[in-house]
């Protein structure tokens, strides 16, 4: 019997071709960078945290850089999915489970027990451990000590950059992938990380005034829009954007935030599909496409998963609409209840806990190695659900199927991170028009016969169900397809 068809729980790869010295060196360097974080976390006092932090992040970036160059450049350009299903890390083996537990644990601590990571866990609320390691960088940007969210944002950005570099080496023959990934890396670095930190540094956000009064915080990631940013309309957020000393930046973000989801999102989605957001600029998408690339094939392609998806994502979308409506009602009527129900207890808190934290963070990223890299984007994200409606019913975007060329091999479906059974359409010669497609373009990249192309074209003929595929008797095609 073929061993390749069986689940492997072995740490070692049964078909191992091993790593060479350079790959090992790169891997070791990157892991040492990670190890420094753990050393800091476990409370070993580091004398000069700025040096250790720089060393840690630098080693991660450099290590992955060395590893990727060696791994991908020694082979000619092309699709590099050899051994994906043999590898313990990428095939839900021991390493995959191990990583999933670590990631999940990290998110649980981050959301609910940040003091375990060292956040204000020392005397007088001084940072310790992992969080303290990032104090120098936080002070550099904005003069305050690091929060757990600063640590998270920094690590998040470093991951997108390093594994983005790896992704670019892997897909260097594919300009769509290269350009898309560069945009993902730049969006994260500037829009999600540097600009917000700089604005805080310039006292346009997250500031305490000279009287010692905290003025409030609002989201300054230009692209993190409602409904993904579910608390945009919460009173503390709306108030923060209107703080006098934050102007004109605060008001700009308020106006931008509303125009963004109300006007820009439908228009751009009409022209190019939701991919402009999900796989080009979104932070969650950015992490999924770079760090999560190694797990994209783990998404379920079953019809039952698609059914669950439609209930969940649209259910959550309705949930966020109701929650936001209640919030706005409360804001404008100055009330803390709606129909006798506490807005916080019945709307904001459950959404924040269940969806904002548990689903998008703990499951969304923690379960990458088990359920694939787009669990949140596929089953949960209300922004994805919202854009999905436009993409399905009013958009020029589709994945075109190239006539009768499909050989039903299954690479497209296997590597679809959204769990779309791409092959089911392609083998019928039918275009793929699905609300969930994030337009990552990997189906097209892995297709060995050049069957799939993401494109924006006229709405006419976009959805083209067929019975008989191109290439057969023209009369037969006419007879059968006209029905």
């Amino acid at each position: 019997m073929s061993t390749s068809n069986q689940q492997s729980y072995a740490i070692s790869n049964p078909h191992s071709i091993g790593l060479d010295a350079i790959q090992k060196a790169g891997m070791l360097l990157a892991l040492t960078g990670v190890a420094i974080l753990f050393v800091a976390w476990f409370g070993i006092h580091v004398p000069k945290p700025e040096w250790f932090l720089a060393a840690s992040l630098g080693m991660m970036v450099l290590g992955v850089f060395i590893y990727s160059r060696r791994t991908y450049l020694i082979h000619p350009e092309g699709i590099k999915n050899n051994h994906v299903w043999f590898n313990s890390l990428s095939n839900r083996g021991v390493l995959g489970w191990f990583l999933a537990i670590i990631l999940t644990g990290f998110y649980i601590l981050l959301y609910w027990y940040p003091h375990v990571l060292g956040y204000q866990s020392g005397e007088n609320g001084v940072n310790q451990g992992l969080i303290a390691l990032f104090d120098p960088l936080s002070i550099f940007f904005k003069g305050t000590h690091a929060s757990q969210w600063f640590v998270y944002g920094t690590l998040y950005t470093v991951l997108i950059i390093t594994l983005g570099i790896k992704f670019i080496y892997k897909y260097r023959h594919n300009r769509y992938q290269v350009i898309r990934t560069l945009v993902v890396m730049i969006s994260q670095t500037f829009l999600a990380y540097l600009i917000p930190e700089i604005l805080a540094g310039l006292n346009y956000n997250d500031t305490t005034n000279s009287q010692g009064e905290y003025l409030g915080w609002y989201d300054t990631d230009l692209k993190n829009t409602w409904p993904l940013d579910y608390d945009f309309f919460n009173s503390w957020h709306l108030d923060a954007m209107q703080v006098e000393s934050y102007q004109p930046i605060g008001m700009f973000y308020l106006v931008w935030g509303i125009i963004f989801f109300l006007v820009l999102t439908p228009i751009i989605t009409y022209f190019v599909g939701k991919r402009w957001y999900c796989s080009w600029v979104c932070g969650c998408g950015g992490l999924a496409e770079t760090t999560g690339d190694a797990f994209r094939h783990l998404s379920s392609k079953k019809l039952s998963a698609w059914k669950l998806e439609r209930w969940l994502i649209h259910g959550i979308m309705v949930f966020v609409f109701i929650m936001t409506a209640a919030t706005l009602y409360g804001y404008f009527t100055n009330s803390s209840t709606v129909l006798g129900l506490s807005i916080y207890e019945y709307f904001q808190k459950p959404y924040g806990f269940l969806i904002g934290a548990a689903f998008s963070g703990v499951i969304g990223v923690g379960f990458y190695p088990l359920l694939g890299n787009r669990v949140w984007c596929r089953f949960g994200c209300p922004m994805a659900g919202y854009m999905g409606l436009f993409q399905r019913f009013k958009s020029r975007f589709r994945i075109t199927t190239n006539g009768g060329q499909c050989i039903s091999c299954g690479n497209c479906s296997t590597y679809c991170e959204m769990g779309i059974d791409v092959r089911a359409y392609a083998q019928k010669g039918e275009n793929i028009v699905r609300s969930s497609c994030v337009g990552c373009g990997i189906c097209s990249a892995v297709c060995p016969r050049g069957v799939l192309k993401l494109e924006n074209d006229s709405e006419k003929g976009r959805i083209n169900p067929t019975e008989i595929v191109l290439g057969n008797d023209v009369d037969l095609m006419k007879l059968v397809n006209k029905k």
Partner: protein, 435 residues
């Protein structure tokens, strides 16, 4: 109710079953000795390479068959009795049918080489072949070298597979250049170089003499006819083409040639028995197509057509414009219409060839020397639209029109570099009649 029995659960048989189901309530049974469910044969390579698991090659979920009321039967049909309309399985079991469709596919060719049946010598066609391949070549410690005999599409895929496990591969090809019976010279040469770039030891113009055995009846080396050279190896892949898998029909009364002889309606000489896919041999040639076409797409088209006949709309098999595709390691290949290599090239067929300097992209356009009618295109490393070429070929456009409108046919992903301008320039600098 009529009982339609289909032997073979490959693309032809399954396509026929699906379309018969769409058109009728007949009882449908698909018999296979190979696997429980339909899978994509062309995707077996990706299972070995670890791109996919075997279940990913199955295009329909397992519940699909029951839901569509298509019965699946695992078993090996030993004899067909067309008088009693009965099938006899190797287990002794019997099954009767009203209409019988053979979609039994192919088996790898063996040309009587000494040692061709040794352990560690095999072709690559079936799921079972994949399993034995896995046994013999799990890694480069157990298989220190593999020799592949026969330079066609399966040969180069097998080479790619073995290289994915870092197994040294010697690729023995009878022709002077890779697949040059089909591919024009420039393309064939480009693929030669691409093969070498993948560290495959390409040996051209050489034949296999024999395969030597070790003391356990396992292949230990091959001997080359021309040079007498002995190449030690642990595995020999025989990929010198395939032929219809019909030995079990020898005394059935069904007319056989190389394959199962069928007329244009895909009917055999026996009433209510049909053959489609790899195993069907056309008695009456269809334009310049070969009588047996062991190609995924033609199998599918025969299935689509025969379903009509079975369900009362008796229809000739009339495939449209020829197309095909393959992938040579990292280089994708598509073809529309007819572009001939060494074999069967009509005297009027002239070629325009363009190759990119990076040696991974090229196209060849075939056209009529006198009339300039566009006859076909081979494209390597640039994806092109089937639909566009299908209409240009049926409209009988001339070659200049095609060159000038090539951009409309481009199917490469967005942001990819385009070569149409360069191609047009090269074309306009060349006198047309030079081939």
């Amino acid at each position: 109710m009529q009982h339609i029995v289909i032997i073979g659960n490959g693309i032809s048989g399954v396509t026929a079953a699906r379309h018969i189901r769409k058109l009728s309530d007949y009882k449908i049974t698909i018999i296979s000795a190979e696997t429980d469910y339909f899978f994509s044969r062309t995707a077996l390579m990706y299972v070995y390479m670890g791109h996919m698991k075997f279940e990913h090659t199955q295009a329909y979920e397992n519940w699909f068959w029951k839901k569509n009321n298509i019965d699946l039967k695992k078993g090996f049909v030993q004899t067909v009795n067309h008088n009693s309309k009965e099938l006899l399985f190797s287990t002794g079991e019997k099954m009767s049918y009203d209409k019988l469709i053979f979609a039994v596919g192919s088996k790898p060719n063996k040309f009587g080489w000494p040692g061709q049946d040794l352990e560690g010598v095999q072709g690559l066609y079936s799921k079972q072949d994949l399993d034995t391949l896995e046994q013999h070549t799990p890694n480069n410690k157990i298989c220190k070298r593999a020799v592949i005999v026969g330079g066609g599409l399966i040969g180069i895929e097998l080479a790619e597979m073995l290289r994915s496990r870092n197994i040294p591969v010697t690729f023995l090809i009878r022709e002077e250049s890779f697949w040059d019976v089909v591919l024009p010279e420039g393309e064939s040469e480009m693929i030669n170089q691409h093969i070498k770039k993948h560290h495959i030891d390409l040996k051209l113009g050489l034949n296999l003499k024999e395969i030597l055995s070790d003391e356990n009846g396992k292949a230990r080396a091959v001997v080359i006819e021309e040079t007498g050279e002995e190449i030690p190896c642990n595995f020999v892949g025989l990929t010198a083409g395939v032929s219809p898998n019909i030995s079990f029909l020898k005394d059935s009364g069904i007319e056989l040639g190389k394959g199962i002889k069928v007329n244009r309606f895909l009917e055999t000489n026996i009433k209510d028995i049909y053959a489609i896919g790899d195993c069907a041999e056309q008695i009456e040639p269809i334009r310049n197509r070969r009588p047996i076409e062991a190609v995924w797409y033609t199998g599918r088209m025969m299935g689509e057509t025969l379903a009509q006949t079975i369900c009362g709309n008796r229809l000739k098999y009339k495939p449209g414009i020829w197309f095909n595709s393959a992938k040579f390691l990292d280089i994708e290949y598509q073809t529309y219409g007819w572009v001939h290599g060494k074999v069967g090239r009509p005297e009027y067929e002239a070629h325009f060839h363009w190759k990119h300097q990076d040696n991974t992209k090229c196209i060849t356009l075939a056209y009529h020397k006198e009339t300039k009618e566009f006859l076909g295109i081979n494209t390597f490393g640039i994806r092109m639209r089937h639909e566009v070429f299908n209409s240009w070929l049926s409209e009988k456009q001339d070659v200049e029109y095609v060159i000038n409108h090539l951009a409309e046919a481009n199917f490469d992903p967005e942001f990819f570099k385009k070569y149409e301008t360069e191609i047009r320039k090269v074309f306009s600098n060349k006198p047309l009649t030079v081939s």
